[in-house]
Every structure is written in C-alpha cells, then in structure tokens.
Point group: C2
C-alpha cells in the first residue's frame, strides 16, 4: 500500500478510551454545569440542572446526541474555541474518573495507544471519527493520542462568520452541521478525509457503517471491533453492540476480547 493511502480511522468512546458508566463528554458537561451554575440562576428552572449530580448522567444520556450538543453549547457559550480547548485540556489532567479513580487522560486504553503509535511509525495517518462533539474531542485527542485537530472528525453545529466590533468571529447556530454516528461517520470520512480508510476500529453498532465502508474497498482492508468482556479490570457489557458482532463474523472483522487479549488495559499511573 502506497504511503499516502495508509489511512486508519478510530472511534473514540469505547474504542480508544473508556465510555462507562457514561461517556467522558457527559462527565465534562456535568462538571461544567457545576462550575458555571453560580453564575446562572436561571438554570434553577431547568430539570436537567436541578437534578445534578444525582440522575443527571442518565438524564443527559436519554437526551440523545442532539440534546447533548445543545446542552454543551449552553455550558460553554461565551468563549472562544481556543479558551474552550484550554479548559478541556486542563480538565482531562486535573479531574478524576469517578469509578476508575484516575485522571481522564489515563482512561485511554494502553493497547490502543500502542497501536496508534505503531501505525504512525509505519506511515499511517490516524484519524478519530467520534459521535461526540468535535470541539470537545479535538483538544483531548491532541493531548492523549497525539492526533492533531484536523484529524478529528466529530459532531458539530453550524457556525456563521460575522464581524463583531471589528473582530471576526464564528457564531454557533442552533442547527446540526454533522452528526457522526452510524452512516454519519462515513459521510464525515468522505467530507474530511476524501478517501476511503484501509483500516477502521470501533466497538459498537454506531461503528458498523464505518467498518463496512472501509472493508468494502479494493485490496487489503482491516476492520476491528473491541469487545468489552472484562468486568474486573474495566467493564463488561454488550449494550450498544446491536448486531455488530454478527456483522463482524460475516465480514471477517477481527474481534478483540479485552479480557483475554489485552495484558494491560490502562496506562501506568503517572
């Protein structure tokens, strides 16, 4: 395979890092709500903010990605993208995952970090294709995976360019620009990368289309699903898998059994 065609795409939550009990971005949103609440007395009226912290995770999860994106917009309005990136970068090093009891930066999977480094050493360009919001995962991916912002594809809202008091700004709009789950991951891949990956990595039914698209190309192709089988060191669950394992068997994709295949799950503590 010629070097310029060596493209590998990775789902984020559950593939590169832990996603249980809830997605990392939900913890971030909850922390932001708690940090910002004193400045927002009007939030008192909204159920989502009142129920914090008990029950908030389930409630946010039930809102769907669109609701989550709107909530995220509310909890980080009024700052530039650079300021937001700094907040995220600080947060992943200073806040601790509630069940794993380690900073979020160290909730990535060690074997996947090694795989990313290995592929890049063999001339691959590695992309994150996440259903979570692009601007949350970008600062994250740069610090944790060494993947630059322009190689992170994710969900986002429309923006509009404006000049406000002689300063050019991008103003967020209430419409979705891209929702990168299921078929939306393939849409994002074609728009952002412009060519078909030769390897793709996922862990849930939301990644099936990306793996189908990747492995349907000509020549050597590789698809891999991470199967969460380790209830002791991490979390064991089949929720969110749908028919992904059946499709994997039918298509000949590799399935990683975390319990037996992974000697180490998380990076050594810093």
């Amino acid at each position: 395979v010629s070097p310029e065609r060596r493209i590998a795409t990775f789902d984020n939550d559950g593939t590169l890092m832990t996603e249980k009990p809830v997605y990392t971005q939900l913890y971030f949103i909850m922390d932001r709500i708690q940090t910002l609440a004193p400045q927002h007395p009007e939030w008192e009226k909204e159920e989502i903010f009142r129920s914090l912290p008990a029950g908030a995770a389930e409630m946010i999860a039930s809102m769907g990605k669109k609701g989550i994106l709107e909530l995220l917009a509310k909890t980080h309005a009024g700052m530039t993208t650079d300021e937001f990136a700094t907040i995220v970068s600080d947060w992943i090093f200073t806040h601790e995952h509630p069940t794993l009891k380690r900073p979020y930066v160290d909730t990535a999977y060690q074997p996947m970090l090694e795989l990313l480094a290995y592929l890049r050493s063999r001339g691959f360009r590695t992309f994150v294709v996440t259903g979570a919001s692009q601007e949350f995962v970008r600062p994250f991916a740069e610090k944790v995976y060494g993947i630059p912002p322009h190689q992170v594809i994710g969900s986002s809202v429309k923006t509009e360019f404006k000049i406000v008091n002689t300063v050019p700004v991008l103003v967020r709009q209430p419409d979705l620009f891209l929702f990168t789950k299921m078929g939306g991951k393939v849409v994002g891949i074609q728009k952002f990368i412009g060519e078909r990956p030769i390897a793709a990595f996922g862990n849930s039914h939301g990644d099936v289309e990306m793996l189908q698209w990747t492995t349907a190309g000509d020549g050597l192709r590789f698809g891999l699903l991470v199967h969460h089988t380790d209830g002791t060191r991490a979390a064991a669950y089949d929720t969110g898998l749908g028919k992904a394992l059946d499709v994997a068997e039918q298509k000949g994709w590799t399935v990683v059994d975390m319990k037996t295949d992974w000697k180490t799950i998380f990076p050594r503590e810093r």
Copy 2:
C-alpha cells in the same frame, strides 16, 4: 511558532492557478458535457447544454456556485468518487487551456508552487480552501500541489450513507453541505482544520474573510493577496477584487504585483 501550529491556507483559483478567462472547473464541466452529450439526448432541451460551446462559459458563470455545483452533479452522476478522481487527474494532464495553450496542470503559478514547497520544508501543513467543488479540486491538488485530499476544503453537497445491493455507498443529495466562499471559508477552516491558520493567501474579495480570520489571531500572522497586474504573460484584471486591496492596506497584508514581483509565472513546459 511550534511546529504543530504552522498552518497555511491557500485559495485556489487566481491564487495558486490561473482563473481566466473562466475557472478551471468550468472548462472541466464543459468538456464533460461534450463527452457525455451523446448519451444524454434529454439535454437537448436545456439551454445550458444547447449553447455549447459558444456562450456556455458566461452562462455557467452567471449561475452562481450553487448552480455550478448542480451542473457538476449532473455531469458526473453515476460513478464512484474514485472513478471521478481518475477522470479529473487524467484531464488535467491531457487537456489544454484554451488561451494559455498548455495542459491545465501547468497553469499553476510557479512562484506559488515554490512557496508551497518552501513552507512545507519549514514544517508547515498547507491547505487549499477553495470556493470550487471539493471533489474536483482534491485530485487536482494532489497531482499539482502535492496536497493530500484531507487538506483540501471546498464546496460540496450533502451525502447520505446507504447500502445498495449489499454495497455501501454515499448518495449525493440536492442540498449544499458547505459553500466555501467569503465567510464560508472561515467556517470550513474551523470545521476541517480546527485551529486558526497563521498564514493565508488569496486574490479576491472572496478571500478577505479568510485573511481577516487568520491575521486577527495572536502572535505573528501573515496575509497575502496576489494582484493580477500582468496582461502580457497572464491576465490583468481587478474584477472580483471588491474592496480587497483597501482592506489589505488597512490591515497591512502583503500585496504581490504579478507583473513586477514575479520573474516567472508558469512552470517550464514538460
């Protein structure tokens, strides 16, 4: 400037390559229409196809980018993106620009090719941000500028993922996904690159917002406009400039006077 922040963005038509008498993509569309016409008797009814070749360029130009994108969709429907890329790649080497009398591949500006190579040798990542259609410019940019598909941002229509007869495909939709002219260039930059360039290069009023956005950032910034002053070796025109030169003076952007600043305009013939 740290290496990962070295990002430079370039307009295509009129900045990296000739855009006169009409945009390269218009010549491509006209050639496609002529190639495909025998298989499409129904085109007889449409003014745009009947008027070929006389007057077509002006007519297409007057349709605006949206109309052009729709026309492009019509003239390359029914093929995969890979097949389309091959057609474009072949075309730029085998077809001759009508006034410059050289293959389209050699209508790029030699000083800009040298600039791209120089910036990359200094650790820059170079991006094309074109108002033309992304899928036309991608194969072009890879062959002519050495810029990979994922570093080409351009206008495109929405696509939808579908499985057709067990084959995963992306189906083009009749809505615009992104229109990357004026403020749309900045929208595209934030979505695709995710950080502010430190240098930007353009030639028309459609590039002003990109240069404003780029040069409004902190630290060292560079904005440059190519001014088409050479009616002998290329084409001299101020159409499409709008107030760009005034803004350049006000903001301190560099303005290239093609006639006096560029010793060579086009690459040596192959």
